[in-house]
């Protein structure tokens, strides 16, 4: 199999459109997934995520638009464009009358030389060795998801496309899936991960595209999205009353409210950092300073159910910078930094 193009991005889609008679499932979507990043493709059910992923993998034909995977067009070049690409859309499917191992052997045979030798290895990777000779039809949903990952890993992908991989998994399964994706990404595999839940991807994604009704409502770093999310913080200290006094006198701290166990306020990352320094200087220990993730989720819901990126001064697919985006570290780094003060 030929090696993938060196400098071409893993995914580049321009003006993707998919129309089913009167239904416009995908409406001029642009995507840019850079090498080595974990890219979240977010949106509610029916937003057009799976249709877009199917177009990327050459399973359905776009009504209009252009796709390149490592510089190759999956629609025109077929399987050759999938060199270095693996994954699944919706739930991975297998032949229920074949064992998990035989399903993988079949996939390996269809992948080419070398893949068959890795069947046992990938079974071990997803911890399915003991169940490898059971019929795939007897697998649980979680085992099926893991077999889907194993099937993808057979190809030693440069780009892994995963469509809602955590759907139907129990909490432990979701955690393990997240760990696996993180590990694969840390090894340099580019991951395109779709989800309808922001919480599912926010810990592992570098950038996201949020789609709504077939259109990209936002594309950019998750940090920028957090920055535009209202800059809300929750603060718990050794002396919340003293902390509230300091917050009132610190420039840039707004909408301060004092609760029984914590303070809440709005601020930029810079001003929140200044407050943390002031608290430290005053001898007030910070037990926890965290961005109010609820506001991020609220923004996500607004993007996907109402409003839109423009209403929030955020980045749109044409590259307009978000007005409210904070520069520098992300809210997560602020949280980590605050925790060590």
């Amino acid at each position: 199999m030929a090696s993938v193009a060196g400098d071409s991005p893993p995914v580049k889609a321009r003006g993707l459109v998919k129309r089913y008679k009167d239904l416009l499932a995908v409406d001029h979507i642009d995507l840019n997934v850079n090498a080595g990043e974990v890219y979240g493709f977010l949106g509610p059910n029916g937003a057009g995520k799976t249709t877009t992923l199917r177009m990327l993998l050459g399973l359905i034909m776009p009504t209009a638009g252009h796709i390149e995977l490592f510089g190759r067009d999956p629609i025109r070049e077929g399987a050759r464009a999938l060199d270095g690409v693996a994954g699944f859309v919706e739930a991975p499917r297998f032949y229920p009358y074949l064992s998990g191992r035989k399903n993988l052997r079949m996939m390996a045979a269809l992948d080419g030389l070398g893949a068959r030798a890795r069947v046992d290895e990938v079974l071990d990777t997803v911890d399915l060795t003991d169940a490898a000779d059971k019929r795939a039809g007897a697998y649980s949903h979680g085992m099926g998801q893991r077999l889907g990952i194993a099937g993808a890993l057979l190809r030693r992908p440069e780009l892994l496309v995963l469509d809602e991989p955590a759907t139907g998994l129990d909490p432990a399964g979701i955690r393990d899936m997240r760990v696996l994706i993180g590990r694969l990404a840390s090894e340099g595999i580019t991951v395109l991960l779709s989800s309808h839940q922001l919480a599912e991807v926010q810990e592992i994604c570098d950038r996201v595209a949020i789609v709504r009704s077939g259109k990209v409502a936002y594309e950019g770093p998750l940090a920028d999205l957090r920055g535009a999310a209202g800059n809300g913080y929750r603060l718990h200290t050794s002396d919340d009353r003293r902390a509230a006094e300091l917050a009132r006198t610190t420039p840039g701290i707004h909408a301060l409210s004092v609760g029984e166990a914590e303070l809440r306020f709005d601020a930029s990352e810079r001003d929140a950092g200044a407050l943390s320094l002031a608290l430290g200087a005053a001898g007030v220990a910070i037990y926890r300073m965290a961005p109010t993730l609820a506001s991020l989720e609220d923004l996500f819901f607004e993007l996907t159910e109402g409003g839109g990126a423009a209403a929030h001064g955020m980045a749109t697919p044409d590259g307009t910078a978000p007005a409210g985006a904070a520069s520098g570290g992300t809210a997560e780094t602020t949280e980590r930094a605050a925790g060590t003060v």
Binding site: M1, A2, S3, V4, T51, R54, L57, G58, L59, I60, M61, G78, A79, L82, D83, G84, A86, F88, V89, E90, A91, P92, R93, F94, Y95, P96, Y97, L98, K102, M106, M107, A109, L110, D111, G112, L113, G114, A115, R118, E121, D124, T125, V126, D127, R146, G151, L153, R155, R156, E158, G173, D176, M177, V179, L180, R183, L184, E187, G188, I189
Partner: protein, 290 residues
């Protein structure tokens, strides 16, 4: 899953080398067929009638029953049994068996969602289509020759390996008769593979196994009905169903190749457009199932 530790053991990534051949895909299509019970149901449909016939004849009529030319021919040589069975089965049963798999072979994968599984590997759609078509054809051939083998073994076991009388009332030796049986079964494959082609087309277009299987059988039934309609005699030579008995030309002396040749080009008129249309649909279709 213990991914936290297991992924650390992942080998370094590199691209796969070597692209799978269509024959590799065919072999896996056949393995998938062999792993399904319904595959054997179809084969049994072809193999059971000769067994029932031989057992019935022996136990209820007696191995040496006399009383008619038909009975005399049958009991004279066991090699007459596969010919008689081919006469009966080629009319409807063998097309039915061919339809069972060909109508299912694409639609089943579509409805189960496994089409996307194989189309996201390193194989082109054209390869997958060719492999599925060849596998369905191989299955039809297996059903035909399997039924013939069972009929031959059962017949010879009951009435011996003797010469037979051809449709031209000439006598051929047992080894020659055996060759003619093989040739006749090969000849009946021509219209059967045409049925397979129609089945593959319907399987690709309808995306529904039941609709494709029933539709394929329906085509055969409709053509038989057309055969029975007065005033349409002029088109009878061009009906697919008429070609299902063309193999009988091989059992005449001298061999009458006319029906075989006619069957070949008439069947091509049905099969090639069907396969071409199915191929185009398969190449361009959206795989949205599963």
């Amino acid at each position: 899953m213990s991914v936290a530790t297991a992924t650390a053991e992942l080998p370094p990534r590199r691209m796969l080398s070597g692209r799978p051949s269509t024959l590799t895909i065919v072999s896996w299509e056949l393995r998938k067929l062999m792993a399904q019970r319904r595959t054997y149901l179809g084969l049994a449909l072809g193999a059971i009638p000769p067994l029932i016939f031989v057992v019935f004849w022996n136990f209820h009529q007696g191995p040496d029953r006399h009383g008619g030319i038909f009975a005399t021919e049958i009991t004279q040589s066991g090699l007459a049994t596969p010919v008689l069975m081919l006469l009966f089965e080629s009319a409807f049963l063998l097309p039915l068996i061919a339809a069972l798999v060909s109508g299912d072979i694409v639609a089943n994968e579509d409805s189960n969602g496994t089409l996307k599984t194989i189309l996201t590997r390193s194989v082109d759609r054209g390869q997958v289509f060719a492999a599925k078509t060849l596998a369905a054809m191989a299955y039809a051939a297996a059903a035909v020759f399997g039924a013939a083998a069972i009929a031959t073994i059962a017949g010879v076991a009951s009435w011996g390996f003797h010469h037979v009388i051809t449709l031209s009332d000439t006598v051929v030796s047992a080894p020659e008769a055996l060759l003619l049986i093989v040739a006749a079964n090969a000849a009946v494959l021509i219209p059967l593979l045409t049925v397979v082609s129609i089945g593959v087309l319907l399987s690709t277009v309808t995306r529904n196994s039941a609709a494709a299987v029933v539709g394929t059988i329906g085509v055969v039934i409709v053509l038989y009905i057309v055969t029975a309609i007065p005033g349409l005699e002029a088109i009878h030579p061009y009906l697919l169903t008429g070609q299902l008995q063309a193999w009988q030309g091989l059992l005449r002396t001298p061999t009458d190749w006319g029906p075989i040749a006619h069957s070949a080009w008439v069947c091509a008129l049905y099969a090639l457009p069907s396969l071409f249309a199915a191929y185009l649909v398969f190449l361009r279709r959206d795989v949205a199932g599963g």
